[in-house]
């Protein structure tokens, strides 16, 4: 018998949509945690430098360094907003600071914690700034979120995770978004035309 020429199995649960096709806000995901590959490592989240030191009395210097690394990363990679209003909308009242440095002036959320791994490893430790939100409008509310928008499973009381090593990969520097709308003008130009055409699909 010839081999079957159609997909053998389709995960119907994945395809079922209670709310079909609503644009997602920010993907709430736990991909770093849920992946089954076993190169994952233990990571712990601290909300202050002291917490780290109390937890690791024999690694005081590493705590200092990991905290500083996270702070530096935060300055470089944290989400940025043109207005305090936009920032607070995402992170909550009084959760944002004004920054004016050589990269410009903007608002960014305070670092709410830092995630470290392999603190006692002789080769190197990993450290990453984390944020959380107190805003009722945000999908980050009461969750840990990284600079590039990963939201961890579980609420902020959960401090221990197993993560893939790339969770600690340096994030690209993001400066403020200066403009929007540089793509899509051909649609406006061409879709005013025609009547038989379905509402402006650019597929073919």
């Amino acid at each position: 018998m010839a081999t079957q020429k159609r997909s053998k199995h389709i995960n119907l649960r994945r395809m079922r949509k209670a709310f079909a096709l609503k644009p997602l806000a920010v993907g709430v995901a736990g991909v770093m945690l849920s992946a089954c590959s076993d190169d994952r490592q233990d990571a712990r989240i601290y909300t202050s430098l002291d917490e780290c030191k109390i937890d690791n009395p024999d690694a005081i210097a590493q705590c200092d360094a990991a905290y500083q690394t996270a702070l530096d990363e935060a300055v470089r990679t944290s989400p940025r907003y043109n207005s305090e209003y936009d920032c607070e909308h995402e992170f909550g009242a009084n959760q944002c600071q004004y920054v004016n440095n050589n990269q410009g002036s903007f608002f960014m959320p305070f670092m709410a914690g830092f995630m470290v791994s392999q603190l006692l490893s002789p080769s190197r430790y990993y450290s990453q700034p984390l944020y959380t939100s107190y805003s009722p409008y945000s999908s980050y509310r009461s969750r840990w979120v990284t600079a590039d928008g990963y939201v961890f499973n579980g609420d902020i009381r959960k401090r221990n995770y197993r993560v893939r090593p790339d969770a600690f990969k340096p994030k690209p520097t993001v400066t403020r978004t200066m403009s929007r709308g540089g793509f899509g003008s051909s649609v406006r130009a061409k879709s005013s035309w025609g009547s038989s055409s379905r509402s402006g699909s650019w597929g073919s």
Partner: protein
């Protein structure tokens, strides 16, 4: 009801049935394998050989109307072997004679969800309810291959997240992109969405989504010829986004491919004679030719040249970049409907077919979608 459960929102359009499950097409395995699957793989390889030639020739880049400022960008994407996700070859096939290539939708093909998922589910149900024999099959490994390929692409770029983008105000495109997001998710990739019009440019030259996350890897259901000519086109090279489809698809999806194919593989059984319209003296005037713009979507701006007389078949906004001629090969008519076969590839592997039919001889976007079986 079932449609709503799976978010299938575009099964009727303007009151016309778009998805028609009252009927289906039936093929033999030999028809599928010998007449569609094998030629699809071969045509695709022929097309790739043309891409290889075009990126290495400034004269051809010009012929394909690739803006000169982006020649290097397009060429580099080919030399770097940036991975492609999928394409759809549109074929004229009557069930008996060799299938003929009408065009290669290599950049932004749609009706993916109907083909990969909906058609598959339809067969499952028909068989369960005893309407169709249990040993019936379908040429449709699209979803399986898409999931696998998205995983490979994530590996290639060493990423675990991907953005997905389409334009606003089109439920069909949003549906196609959501389907690909679901496939990516199935492959363990984190998917994020941004509308094409909302893409931003950061101070340091990266493209960003609405949360100011950089677009590191992005699937876009938006044609390359538009992106290259729009204002953010100037930032494509420095923004360093891994685009899916890759920039070299600007060549593969271009209708200038058709005359080039005919030049390089003359009289190939699966090709129709084709010429650039300014080389039309080669096209004998006592035959019928279809004139198409280099860039065109949804069958727009097509004319029929009959004995040297031009008759406009469909109007549209395209054509400023030039036209090609292709020998007129009418779609076969079954039961009063003109039938077009869309033959899918995921990367370079044939992955299934979709069938659209229309009362008129040119398949426009309101054509009905019909499922098929192999028996």
């Amino acid at each position: 009801m079932l449609a709503a459960e799976y978010g299938f929102h575009f099964h009727t359009m303007y009151g016309e049935p778009y998805w028609d499950e009252s009927a289906y097409y039936q093929f033999s395995l030999a028809q599928i394998e010998n007449h569609i699957e094998d030629p699809t793989a071969e045509i695709h390889q022929m097309c790739l050989s043309i891409v290889d030639e075009v990126v290495n020739s400034e004269k051809l880049m010009k012929r394909f109307a690739i803006p000169q400022a982006h020649w290097d960008f397009v060429r580099q994407s080919w030399l770097n072997k940036e991975p492609s996700l999928y394409s759809r070859l549109d074929l004229v096939y009557d069930g008996v004679n060799p299938a003929k290539l009408l065009e290669n939708n290599a950049d932004t093909p749609t009706s993916l969800y109907e083909s990969g998922f909906w058609q598959w589910l339809w067969l499952e149900h028909q068989v369960q309810e005893g309407h169709i024999a249990r040993n019936a099959d379908q040429f449709n490994s699209l979803q399986e291959k898409l999931v696998h390929r998205l995983g490979e692409i994530a590996q290639f770029y060493q990423v675990h997240e991907m953005h997905f983008a389409c334009c606003k105000d089109t439920e069909e495109d949003r549906g196609t992109v959501q389907y690909l997001q679901d496939c990516a998710s199935e492959a363990g990739i984190e998917d994020k969405f941004v509308y094409v019009e909302d893409i931003g440019l950061s101070e340091n030259g990266l493209f960003t989504d609405m949360s100011n996350n950089p677009l590191l890897s992005c699937f876009k259901l938006y044609p390359w010829e538009f992106m290259l000519s729009e204002s953010y086109g100037d930032h494509l090279e420095t923004a360093d986004t891994n685009w899916i489809e890759p920039p070299w698809k600007a060549i593969l999806s271009n209708k200038a491919l058709l005359p080039l194919l005919w030049q390089r593989f003359p009289n190939h059984p699966n090709l129709l004679p084709s010429y650039f319209s300014d080389g039309a003296h080669k096209a004998s005037s006592n035959e019928k030719w279809i004139k198409k713009p280099l860039f065109s979507r949804e069958g727009a701006n097509i004319s029929l040249l009959d004995n040297g007389e031009e008759k406009v078949l469909s109007e549209g906004p395209y054509g400023e970049e030039g036209f090609i001629l292709q020998a007129y090969s009418p779609l076969p008519v079954f039961d009063g409907n003109h039938t077009l076969i869309g033959s899918w590839l995921v990367d370079d592997m044939p992955a299934g077919i979709s069938i659209r039919e229309d009362k008129s001889p040119i398949t426009q976007d309101l054509s009905r979608y019909l499922p098929h079986i192999i028996l």
